[in-house]
């Protein structure tokens, strides 16, 4: 009898079960919508303030509409330039000449001149000179323009104009890597004095790496002390570590200038001690950059290290010692490896922050100590060369991501503790 009753009851349940499923889905959907509504403001904020600017920066590094906006005819005429080994034909010259005259009348010649100046030595004088001397009418625009300035006959000039005519250009990105596209399409390294960006990039990474190493060396003992002192003393020391966070970056950097300059406290002290017989130069050079940046970034190393060390209970060391390890061996083989997650996190934090450092090197470094962000700032605020600024930013971003990936492979980001 019970055997009969069971399937009947199951059948009776079926339609109800479907209703249950639907109700469950509805309830889950509401939950999802609510969860999304909660994160939506943050998402929007991140999109607007972070993703969008980075996207725009990446776009500006290869989208190039400056010249085509003021020289529209040039852009379309350039397609007729097929034989790249010599200057184009009359039609292209005519288009350029008309564009020059029109933009001279429309007062937009400066824009074109500036853009061409990026790619051509003395491009500005070329454009303005030609505009000044260009006749109203002529048989051959080509001959007239070459007569005004012989450079108009140079295919490399035309390659530069072609690259600048948009809508996309590889010019900035290539230049950010010290490369150059020749008229015949070959990509070659730029020569001698013009090849500066690879050096700057290497310098940026060297400085960031050195500062990271210094931070580890200085931060480790401090974090160890903080984690192992009685709470009262540790709290006091912690305030000293955090104090730099509460003072302006500018003030801290300026303080280093006061301390490290040739008449500064440190030099006076060294002279008084007799360690040196003439003041050493510690500022406006690489040493100054290292000292000031390490000081500024040290808390970012100490905090994650401290939080990891705080979690390492003393019984690990005791266990190691009871198993026969000398204290130094126990420290190296047990304690140190257990701090690696904190060290990894701190190192990554310091390294990435150091990569983008601008104010401190600008104030305490010399000309040869400026990092890539100095040049990005230079291009955005001094010469308004957004393309070059964006390209440098893009290169920095890509190289950083590559390094991060390698680091992730080696250390494992999931092994890290930020505190």
């Amino acid at each position: 009898m019970t055997d009969m009753a069971l399937p009947e009851r199951q059948q009776a349940l079926l339609p109800d079960q479907q209703g249950l499923k639907a109700r469950l889905q509805r309830a889950e959907r509401m939950k999802k919508v609510r969860a999304f509504a909660l994160v939506a403001p943050l998402l929007l904020f991140v999109l607007v303030t972070f993703i969008a600017p980075i996207g725009d920066m990446l776009r500006r590094s290869f989208v190039d509409n400056e010249l085509s906006a003021v020289w529209p005819q040039t852009q379309s005429a350039m397609q007729q330039w097929t034989d790249r080994s010599q200057a184009p034909g009359e039609a292209v010259f005519k288009a350029v000449a008309e564009d020059i005259r029109k933009s001279r009348d429309a007062n937009t010649l400066a824009t074109a001149a500036r853009r061409l100046n990026y790619a051509i030595d003395n491009g500005r004088s070329l454009v303005f000179g030609t505009a000044r001397k260009l006749p109203d009418q002529t048989e051959s625009w080509k001959e007239a323009m070459i007569a005004i300035d012989a450079r108009w006959n140079d295919p490399e000039l035309w390659q530069a104009i072609n690259q600048a005519s948009g809508p996309f250009t590889s010019f900035y990105l290539l230049q950010a890597m010290d490369l150059h596209k020749k008229a015949n399409g070959d990509i070659v390294s730029v020569s001698g004095n013009n090849a500066i960006y690879i050096d700057i990039l290497l310098r940026t990474f060297t400085v960031a790496f050195s500062v990271t190493v210094l931070s580890v060396l200085l931060g480790f003992p401090v974090a160890y002390l903080l984690a192992n002192l009685p709470p009262k003393t540790a709290n006091l020391l912690m305030i000293l570590v955090l104090l730099p966070f509460w003072t302006s970056l500018l003030v801290r950097t300026a303080a280093w200038i006061v301390l490290l300059q040739e008449q500064g406290v440190v030099n006076q002290f060294l002279l008084w001690l007799g360690v040196v017989d003439h003041p050493i130069r510690m500022i406006y050079n690489r040493a100054g950059v290292y000292i000031a940046m390490t000081h500024v970034l040290l808390p970012f190393m100490i905090m994650p290290l401290y939080s990891v060390m705080k979690g390492i209970k003393p019984h690990y060391m005791r266990a190691a010692v009871s198993l026969g390890a000398r204290p130094t061996v126990a420290f190296l083989r047990v304690y140190m490896p257990m701090t690696l997650p904190g060290m990894g996190a701190g190192a990554l934090l310091v390294f990435i922050l150091a990569l983008g450092y601008y104010v401190t090197p600008a104030l305490v470094g010399g000309a040869a100590d400026q990092m890539i962000s100095y040049f990005i700032a230079f291009y955005t605020s001094e010469t308004v060369n957004w393309g070059m600024a964006s390209a440098l930013g893009a290169v920095l971003l890509v190289v950083t991501l590559i390094l991060y990936t390698i680091y992730n492979r080696l250390v494992g980001i999931s092994n890290m503790k930020m505190g």
């Binding site: 209970k313 019984h315 690990y316 005791r318 266990a319 190691a320 010692v321 009871s322 198993l323 026969g324 390890a325 000398r326 204290p327 061996v329 126990a330 083989r333 047990v334 490896p337 257990m338 690696l340």
Partner: protein, 377 residues
């Protein structure tokens, strides 16, 4: 098994000819200069013995163990290991294995690396490390888990690794501080037996710390009951249970009924005690002052009878049943006796047997042997 042989050899042929391995000699310890956490510790531990320090939390067990291991320095007194003072021997040279409550396995090393650690710091060759690690892991039945990380193991497995690591370098002495405290009851009981078996097969000396009296009773050769930084009693498990020397031990080990009274007379081993209710009973004079002094009578619940007690029974007290609780194999009867309303009697349960009902008035009886007159509470 080579390890067992070595241990056995060590057990029989003592270096200094004595069979005492550890001696605490008037050891005192204070952390803050005010309170003596360990007051006056005198203890001798024989080779091959399993000694447990048992006591409530804060009684100074861990401190005593840490002084032996070398992580704390005695404020006063001396600790000898194998007849040699440990005063100037740093912990890593003491050759004492140690197992901690939270295992203290190194999380960045595999199981095999953890167990190999004491060997590698001693400069044992790689190939010998491998064989000894394997042997140690087999001993704790973890042979297949060499390459796991501690984080991927259960608490019981981690504790076995810790055990293997503390034993692999064949120390003469192994200290364990509440090693099973973090395990659930069933696993704990299982591990108690395993540790006991390892102790027997290797012949090592173990000093074990716990606050669990059941654990101490099942595992130990001798138990030192700690309270307030003093050893209250040092005895075998049966000695402690059958003949506690004072009320603290009587309470701490096993179940206990306590009734306050006044000593009326003393005659040899026995004394006569008058209770608050005016009744008088005969008791074993274990730890009392003179006639007229206060005392506390101690009874084990299973040594008190409530059935078939005639009016001529020499040692009986009047009582009233408060409640009866069924435990399957036995019944507990909670009664009011001589003014105390938490007097418990354990009754073996058999089907069909009459069980006392609440409110029932009856007599409880016991022999003078089973009624201990101890210090007043």
């Amino acid at each position: 098994m080579a390890m067992a042989d070595a241990a056995a050899k060590r057990g029989t042929s003592a270096q200094n000819g004595s069979d005492i391995l550890v001696t605490f000699n008037g050891v005192q310890k204070t952390y803050d200069g005010e309170i003596l956490v360990v007051k006056d510790l005198n203890l001798e531990i024989k080779r091959g013995e399993f000694v447990t320090m048992l006591g409530p939390s804060g009684s100074g067990k861990t401190t005593s163990l840490m002084m032996l291991a070398g992580f704390e320095v005695p404020t006063h007194g001396e600790i000898l290991l194998d007849g040699r003072s440990l005063r100037n021997v740093p912990p890593h040279q003491r050759d004492i294995g140690m197992v901690f409550q939270n295992y203290a396995l190194f999380p960045h090393m595999t199981v095999a690396e953890n167990v190999a650690f004491p060997l590698s710091v001693r400069g044992v060759s790689k190939s010998e490390q491998t064989t000894r690690v394997r042997k140690a892991l087999d001993m704790v039945k973890l042979g297949a888990m060499e390459n796991r990380r501690p984080g991927q193991m259960s608490g019981g497995q981690q504790q076995r690794v810790a055990l293997a690591r503390a034993l692999v370098f064949e120390p003469q002495l192994v200290l364990m501080d509440e090693p099973l405290g973090a395990l659930d009851k069933q696993l704990r009981e299982h591990m108690q037996l395993e540790i006991k078996h390892i102790h027997e097969s290797l012949g090592i000396t173990i000093v074990y710390v716990t606050h669990d009296q059941g654990e101490a009773l099942t595992m130990s050769d001798r138990i030192a009951v700690f309270n307030d930084g003093i050893i209250q009693q040092l005895d075998s498990p049966t000695g402690l249970y059958e003949c506690p020397r004072n009320s603290f031990v009587a309470h701490f080990i096993g179940e206990n009924n306590a009734l306050p009274g006044i000593v009326e007379s003393v005659s040899g081993e026995l004394c006569s005690v008058r209770l608050a209710s005016g009744e008088t009973v005969q008791a074993r004079a274990v730890n009392i002052g003179g006639v007229g002094s206060k005392t506390s009578l101690s009874f084990r619940p299973e040594k008190v009878h409530i059935e078939g007690i005639g009016p001529d029974h020499p040692n009986r007290l009047h009582g009233r049943v408060n409640e009866t609780i069924y435990y399957g194999d036995h019944v507990r009867v909670r009664m009011t006796v001589a003014g105390s309303d938490s007097f418990t009697v354990k009754m073996r349960f058999r089907a069909g047997r009459a069980v006392p009902l609440p409110g029932e008035e009856l007599f409880v009886a016991f022999t003078a042997e089973d009624c201990l007159a101890l210090d007043p509470i």
